[in-house]
């Protein structure tokens, strides 16, 4: 069972208080390196950083409201060979779920990893964040604006902007499967932060004087988390319904994808697309001229380059069962195609076939890696 503790916020500055907590983790060797979002020198964005020197923790922001890259990819690089020390990774809920999926595909090893989740207030597009930080000017905390709604679970994005669609329809504001969770919901972030810790770490944190885990749990946080989840599921269903009613046949799908320029950004951004050599990056589909001419002959006209629909359908068939819905494909798309909605809406149905929830547990076998002898009998038909 998990244990809980409360961090008292000093000077009404929750981010500063968390900085102290992370400094303790590093200095007292709970972790020997920390992967954590830190403000860029330009001041208009955040990036993940790997920090070993506790003196370099200035400008870190575990609650950073942007998701420029999926950290699950970074975690894969850091753990696929033994890093030789314990790494604490401060991640958003969707990043932890992607990590869990990658563990199952043998791309991440958990043994040297301390997963630190943070209750997620949602994220802005990095470009939006850059604009609004310039607009807001010095001394205005965009993170602080979002934090204000954490207690009641009424998160108001900055006027004139919106959180990423993936965040608006995310059912997991509270991270699961983390060793330490920074709980922001249901408490006044100016006064206290609830920290939930796995049993094995709780003793260590208490012994080292970092956190007394003497709180049962946080009913107010659970309540806010529940109502946020419900609210977002409602929004999610609306988005899915709109997508489904607009996609009655393949032509509709192609119309939705018609401005795809085959940049493959969605694939590059996707944490689940981990193959080192994707078939779409090989010469497999680079046919000889006569082949294209023959298709042109048969259809009268073919779009060049070919394979737009094939690309999206293959990506669906290869990874939709593990799509955790981080929406980075949407953010990466230069033409604003509804790729994340496509993946999540189709994924919901395909995952349900196998009663599979990606990111739920490392013990759930991914549908493409396993089978049951007595299932899907109708699939092989009868004469």
């Amino acid at each position: 069972m998990d244990k809980g503790g409360l961090l008292t916020v000093k000077n009404n500055d929750p981010v500063e208080t968390l900085r102290g907590f992370f400094r303790d983790l590093l200095e007292k060797k709970v972790v020997e390196a920390l992967l954590i979002p830190k403000k860029l020198p330009s001041g208009d964005g955040y990036c993940q950083t790997l920090i070993r020197n506790p003196e370099m923790l200035m400008d870190i922001n575990p609650v950073a409201p942007t998701l420029p890259v999926q950290s699950a990819r970074i975690i894969s690089h850091l753990t696929i060979t033994d890093p030789g020390c314990k790494i604490g990774a401060v991640l958003k809920s969707c990043e932890i779920r992607a990590v869990i999926e990658l563990v199952k595909f043998l791309q991440v090893k958990l043994d040297r990893l301390v997963l630190i989740g943070v209750d997620c207030l949602g994220t802005y597009e990095p470009s939006d964040y850059a604009t609004m930080s310039r607009e807001a000017g010095e001394g205005v905390s965009i993170t602080g604006e979002l934090l204000r709604g954490a207690r009641e679970g009424k998160i108001e994005p900055r006027k004139g902007y919106n959180l990423r669609l993936a965040c608006q329809i995310c059912e997991y504001p509270i991270p699961q499967n983390a060793d330490i969770v920074i709980g922001l919901f249901g408490h006044d972030p100016q006064r206290e932060i609830f920290v939930q810790v796995r049993d094995h770490l709780a003793t260590e944190l208490a012994e080292k004087g970092i956190l007394a885990t003497d709180v049962e749990g946080s009913p107010s946080r659970d309540m806010v988390g529940k109502s946020l989840t419900e609210e977002r599921m409602k929004k999610r269903d609306e988005v899915f319904d709109a997508f489904r009613s607009g996609t009655k046949d393949l032509q509709d799908l192609m119309d939705a994808l018609s401005t795809c320029i085959r940049c493959h950004n969605c694939m590059v951004a996707c944490p689940i697309c981990y193959c080192k050599e994707c078939v779409f990056r090989t010469p497999t589909l680079e046919h000889k001229a006569d082949r294209f001419l023959r298709w042109a002959d048969r259809k009268g006209v073919v779009r060049m380059p070919t394979d737009t629909l094939l690309f999206h359908l293959i990506r669906l068939s290869h990874m939709v069962t593990s799509c955790i819905g981080c929406g980075l494909c949407d953010s990466a798309c230069p033409n604003d195609l509804p790729v994340a909605t496509l993946f999540r809406a189709v994924g919901q149905k395909v995952q349900a076939m196998f009663d599979y929830t990606p990111g739920r547990s490392v013990d759930d076998e991914p549908p493409v890696a396993t089978f049951r002898e007595d299932e899907l009998q109708a699939e092989s038909g009868t004469l």
Binding site: R244, T247, K248, D249, L250, Q251, D252, L253, M254, S258, V279, W295, R298, K299, G300, V301, V302, R303, T306, D307, T308, L309, L310, L313, I314, L316, S317, H318, V320, T321, L342, A345, V346, K349, V350, M353, P367, V368, F371, R372, E373, E375, L376, E379, S380, G381, L383
Partner: protein, 140 residues
């Protein structure tokens, strides 16, 4: 529609269905010539890209032939193929392509007659369905 002859791309496993197709030939079973066979080592080796590319490029049907459950030369390839087919079909279903053009069948090396009957039956069914609408999708 009378003279529509469907074109079927078949991916057959080396150990069972491909050999079954051979047997259909050596035992002089008659079946329609609408099928183009691609030899695979296992039905589990048929990636979804082969099936979808065949359909998008205008095949009217795709047949995947594998060993009966429990008979896979590689133990479990056919079970995995079955999951993969189910996933592809559900994806296509979700994006509005509900036609039954992907057939997965278990045909052993000794079932030459079953192979011939399967092809005959599939051609009949595809004739009822008509040409694959993806043939006309030039933007695909």
């Amino acid at each position: 529609m009378e003279d529509f002859e469907p074109r079927i791309i078949a991916f057959l496993c080396h150990w069972c269905t491909y050999t079954g197709a051979d047997l259909a030939g050596t035992t002089r079973q008659q079946y329609p010539p609408n099928i183009r066979i691609i030899h695979m080592m296992c039905s589990g080796a048929v990636d979804s890209i082969y099936i979808l590319k065949a359909l998008i490029d205008g095949a009217d049907g795709v047949l995947i032939g594998g060993c009966h459950p429990g008979d896979c030369h590689y133990q479990t390839g056919n079970y995995k193929a079955r999951r993969r087919m189910a996933i592809i079909k559900e994806i296509l279903n979700q994006v509005g392509f509900t036609e039954d053009r992907i057939w997965l069948r278990w045909i052993s090396a000794s079932e030459g007659k079953l192979f011939a009957d399967t092809v005959t039956h599939m051609v009949e069914e595809l004739k009822k369905l008509g040409p694959n609408p993806m043939k006309k999708l030039w933007v695909a």
